[in-house]
Symmetry: D2
Subunit: 161 residues, 4 copies
């Protein structure tokens, strides 16, 4: 692995609010400042904002794309992985990370949260889904109140899986 | 398609409580009585109980397996599909169905619910996950109080996608 | 499994010559006559011709589709499996079969032949690819001279994997 | 993309002969010298030898792993991508590259050659498979006589897909 750097996924909608984009960009910046490698689904919205932030600090960005062409990656992706597998690539996004930061998000993001939790990969949430099962709250998503807190929690929980 | 029969997925844990198994078995029986084809992940727990119910009424059962061998299918699977793709097969389970009935379930089931909702496939829930997003309840999972109600809702909402 | 029936894949081009279509249709008919279940990629060309043949004899046909919609299946598919995984579904086509019959075919068919041989699944060839490795012929593809011979070889070599 | 660097896949057996390892290591070295990024399946044999060569020259190596853990990567992989999809990951290996160099190899390698050719990605061969279809040679695999020639051909044919 690159100098034992941590691989952290940032997940969220391919379209997002301005507020979510701001959070994502700051998460990306902070990940890069702390030397982590950013993994994401490679497209727009939260993914692009996070990559923009990471790039601004010289960070490395990996985009695991659903389609058949690297041309679909957002402009801040340095390492495009072209899966050709559609949204089945969501499972690869989270399995390639040692911790996951979820920002906002729609059902695709929820599927990634679920795949991460199924695989025992820590999930940190910023304004994202919350879950309950059979009427009981499920507290597996670790809440953060700010990008810096999300990044710190992700890095401290990241496992060498 | 077989005489325009409906394809309905039953999803839930590979291990489950007795109560969940009872619900799943009755869902399977009712699906078969109403002429639907049962799609599932092919393994034990809720999947096996549903297939047992469907088989008892002469229904057809399809198991979309994660591993490399048809020998891993539960004994009530008539059509084993061997994906070789691990839990990426979850997306195929739901995309092969016209509606999904979720019974109990862990994070794998949650990923299937999310993939279904992302694809616009109706999800009926029996004692399963509930969701909220950014603090607002998400009512996309349609609640049912009984196996019969779940099956009726699934069949009436099933779309010819 | 359905009355211990054999699952046999028929693979070949999504577009094909008239001669290939004729071979495929006869393969489909003979598989159905002998009680086998036909597995294929669900699209046109060789796949459709084989399914047409099987259907004419009351056989069961399974189509493992690359895309996101069951509407893409050829009209003779009874069990559409919607993978949502693009051509990664090729591996599922062959793993779901106990033997594979290849008719003509392009590079997609070659990938299926390779995945089958990698998994130890017998491949019978009718006017299809032949292989050599480092200058030495590889005889793993079992040649057949007619549809009936291909079906007989496939059924006798089919393993209960 | 990283400074417009080329992404070139090196494919071959997870176990290989000493001669193949020597070829692969030199291919890896030459790719790194010419500034290309090496993509592979992340495991042993040809993959490991190529990564060893690239690493010795300061090159970047990406390993697209079939399993569920980054721990399965060979020691020279800098960017492990954990697909969780078994050998369906073969399609991602080739789609993530702009050209492919095949060295020796078994059926898994053949499946990667086929997926690459299906996707229009150039394949350069060093002591690897050769193909004929319906009795006619298929010359799609571009032959090279040495690692340097293979790398030069790969880089000159690499497309910005």
């Amino acid at each position: 692995m690159i100098n034992n750097k941590r691989f952290i996924a940032v997940i969220g909608g391919g379209q997002c609010s301005k507020e979510e984009a701001k959070l994502a960009e700051e998460v990306g910046r902070e990940l890069a400042r702390q030397g982590a490698i950013l993994v994401c689904g490679g497209l727009g919205g939260v993914m692009e904002a996070a990559c923009k932030g990471a790039s601004s600090q010289g960070g490395i960005t990996i985009g695991i794309l659903p389609g058949d062409s690297r041309q679909t990656a957002n402009p801040y992706i340095q390492i495009p992985i072209v899966t050709g597998m559609g949204y089945a690539r969501n499972i690869t996004v989270v399995k390639s990370a040692q911790a996951v930061i979820a920002i906002g998000g729609n059902y695709g993001t929820l599927s990634e949260i679920a795949h991460a939790l199924q695989s025992g990969i820590p999930v940190i949430g910023l304004n994202t889904w919350s879950l309950s099962r059979n009427g009981q709250p499920d507290d597996s998503i670790i809440l953060a109140q700010s990008p810096a807190e999300a990044v710190n929690k992700a890095l401290s929980l990241a496992k060498n899986r």
